[in-house]
């Protein structure tokens, strides 16, 4: 449910010309860059701080959770406490957390008793594979259909696609995933139910790749189905803004075919405001990957986060909260920097 309304990036409004020299100069860019980089840095610091304190509020002693199954002696508890660094005063723990996070030493997971950094490195490719494929497909599909629906606004094609898109957009991701599993994996049996690979696959590269691709189909299908409508609507309204402009009439007067006018003249202009929205939608990508990975038991970071909530595995929660938030903050920063280069109006402000 992000990327719904095309909100312009900070300062995107065309500024009144003040008679100053047009700011293509490096100092203008420097100031713009500094403003956004410092804003992002403050946001990142806030995330870093809040992550430490939020998860410390989870009720219960972590030692109790770690030793649920068996009775433990006070000595054992003390040893465990020391091992996890919980015997340190709060400020010491906070300092260790900050310096640790900045040096990529994220501590050990309560649940797996392994360094969190290793866990993340292990699971990151799965997440990138699923969300990356899903997002690329959703953007391509959404933009392709959006261009055509906007171009033929009010036609049967337009109405049909907008209705289908809205219908899929309204479906809860997890529910769509369950239905897709029920139909394609349970009834038809043509795709695996969940996970990323089957144990029986030979260890060579090609069989493994084919196996992963086979497992990837249903999650990506679900993910794309829910998300693409957002891009469709963005592209559609962007095309609608271009329709009726004089340059399109000129292009037609030159004798270009209708699809040439659309693809060579309208689309490049309509793409401009949408490029940054793709970056801004990163928050939605994280949300979608958490739910999709959980439905399909996909061994990525999203499902790790959900597992950690129920354990509760505080160090993992801390690290993933920072990682997820940092990735959206940095994506927005990238969008803002990109905006400087693709939208000349911003340089004048």
């Amino acid at each position: 449910m992000t990327a719904d309304s095309p909100t312009p990036v900070d300062g995107a409004a065309p500024a009144p010309s003040t008679g100053r020299r047009p700011g293509r100069s490096s100092s203008g860019f420097g100031r713009y860059l500094f403003k956004h980089v410092s804003g992002a840095a403050v946001s990142l610091l806030l995330v870093l701080f809040s992550s430490f304190f939020i998860f410390r509020l989870i009720a219960g002693d972590p030692i109790d959770q770690l030793t649920k199954e068996r009775p433990v002696s006070p000595e054992e508890r003390a040893a465990l406490r020391a091992e996890l660094g919980l015997d340190q005063p709060m400020w010491q723990q906070f300092w260790d957390y900050i310096t640790g996070t900045l040096t990529m030493d994220l501590g050990d997971s309560f649940q797996y008793r392994r360094p969190i950094f290793d866990l993340i490195v292990e699971r990151l490719p799965a997440t990138i594979l699923l969300s990356g494929t899903g997002m690329v497909l959703a953007v391509l599909l959404g933009f392709w259909i959006g261009t055509r629906t906007g171009w033929r606004q009010g036609s049967r094609f337009d109405r049909g696609h907008v209705a289908t898109g809205l219908l899929l957009y309204s479906a809860p991701t997890f529910w769509l995933g369950m239905i897709v599993i029920l139909v394609f994996a349970r009834y038809l049996g043509i795709f695996p139910v969940n996970g990323m690979r089957s144990p029986s696959t030979p260890p060579e590269f090609w069989p493994q790749a084919a196996d992963i691709a086979h497992h990837l189909v249903l999650p990506v299908l679900t993910y794309t189905a829910v998300v693409y409508a957002g891009y469709l609507m963005i592209m559609r309204s962007s095309i609608l803004d271009e329709i009726g402009n004089d340059y399109l009439t000129t292009a037609r007067a030159k004798g270009l075919r209708d699809d040439q006018v659309r693809d060579r003249h309208a689309v490049p202009n309509a793409l401009l405001p949408t490029v940054t929205l793709v970056f801004l939608a990163i928050g939605g990508v994280v949300n979608g990957s958490i739910v999709t990975e959980t439905v399909f038991s996909w061994p990525g970071l999203g499902s790790l986060f959900v597992q950690a909530i129920f354990y509760p595995d505080r160090p993992v929660l801390q690290a993933l909260f920072v990682l997820f938030s940092a990735s959206t903050i940095l994506a927005v920063l990238a969008a803002e920097i990109l905006y400087w280069f693709i939208d000349p109006r911003i340089r004048k402000s």
């Binding site: 449910m1 309304s5 909100t7 995330v47 479906a171 997890f174 529910w175 994280v286 959900v306 909530i309």
Partner: protein
């Protein structure tokens, strides 16, 4: 509107005049709304769902939700007695879905109201007052805007505990910032209009300017954005409940689906357990989106796609 009889007091006359103007503008908006077919379909759909949710206690007794008094078989397919089958303890899926609508709608609407109130207040004040406060409010709302909402919601629910109240608070917390940004932008536009300068010149205080001049101009936009916030709140609630972070003591569509996946409804091919609550979410969300898009088009004619 100027034909009203001579008033008893100038204040009453002013009020009557204001109301007449409001009625007129409402009638105009309603006419524009009615002209949109999808908006009307959404409204009718929504009306039907709300009536069903309100009438749930009349249609099916609450005892149908009790685990101990369940009479059906374990995950039995649809039959004459249970038109939509039963769940893993033998309760009617029809009863669960019907009763679930009350909670899903209640949480979605309440969370939206809370988010809209926070968002409008912060948006109007930060746009009007400006200065350090405005800068700070903008930073905070931007911060909430870029954070991945589901991650924040999951984290907060894990910390605050699982109940209906915390769910509402958490959903409101992750969704107020969009409204703030919208309202702030509109406030800044209104702020520069001459009639505000006139009001200031006549000695209007900040409170008067904000409530009498800015707010009425911002409200239509807020209404449209609220209508689009409800579906996202309902989806968020269902995702959280499905993940197992909902109030364990109540039945919502998300919590039904949570029980369904925990009890292996998918591997048992129990489609009757999965379809009704999911389709219910889909229909409600769709109805709100249709209404919201129509409202947006009413208040923002550019979106109707008429070439300018």
């Amino acid at each position: 509107m100027t034909t009203s009889t001579t008033p008893a007091s100038p204040k009453a006359a002013r009020r009557r005049l204001a109301w007449a103007r409001r009625r007129q503008s409402f009638a105009r908006s309603w006419a524009a709304y009615r002209a949109q077919r999808t908006g009307m379909i959404g409204l009718v759909l929504l009306g039907a769902i709300v009536v069903l949710a309100l009438a749930a206690p009349v249609l099916i007794d609450e005892s149908a939700l009790s685990v101990t008094q369940a009479t059906g078989g374990r995950m039995a397919p649809p039959s004459a007695e249970f038109p939509l089958g039963t769940d893993e303890v033998g309760r009617s899926i029809l009863a669960l879905t019907l009763w679930g609508s009350r909670l899903s709608l209640l949480i979605g609407l309440t969370a939206t109201v809370v988010a809209i109130v926070i968002g409008t207040t912060v948006g109007v004040t930060s746009g009007h007052v400006g200065g350090w406060y405005g800068w700070f409010a903008l930073r905070i709302s931007d911060w909430f805007m870029v954070l991945p909402s589901l991650v924040v919601a999951i984290a907060l629910l894990a910390v605050l505990g699982r109940s209906m109240g915390t769910t509402i608070v958490v959903i409101a917390l992750v969704s107020w910032s969009g409204t703030t940004r919208l309202v702030r932008a509109q406030t800044l536009t209104v702020q520069s209009r001459p009639y505000l300068e006139r009001a200031r010149a006549l000695g209007a205080g900040h409170w008067h300017q904000m409530t009498k001049h800015i707010l009425p101009n911002v409200l239509p936009l807020v209404l449209a954005s609220a209508t689009l916030l409800v579906p996202s709140a309902i989806l968020m609630e269902s995702s959280l409940a499905w993940l197992g972070l909902g109030d364990p003591n109540v039945v919502s569509w998300g919590s039904i689906l949570n029980r369904a996946s925990d009890n292996g409804a998918v591997s048992a091919h129990a489609w009757w357990y999965l379809l009704p609550p999911g389709l219910a979410i889909l229909l409600v969300v769709l109805a709100f989106m249709m209404c919201g898009r129509a409202l947006e088009a009413v208040f923002n004619p550019r979106l109707r796609g008429e070439p300018s």
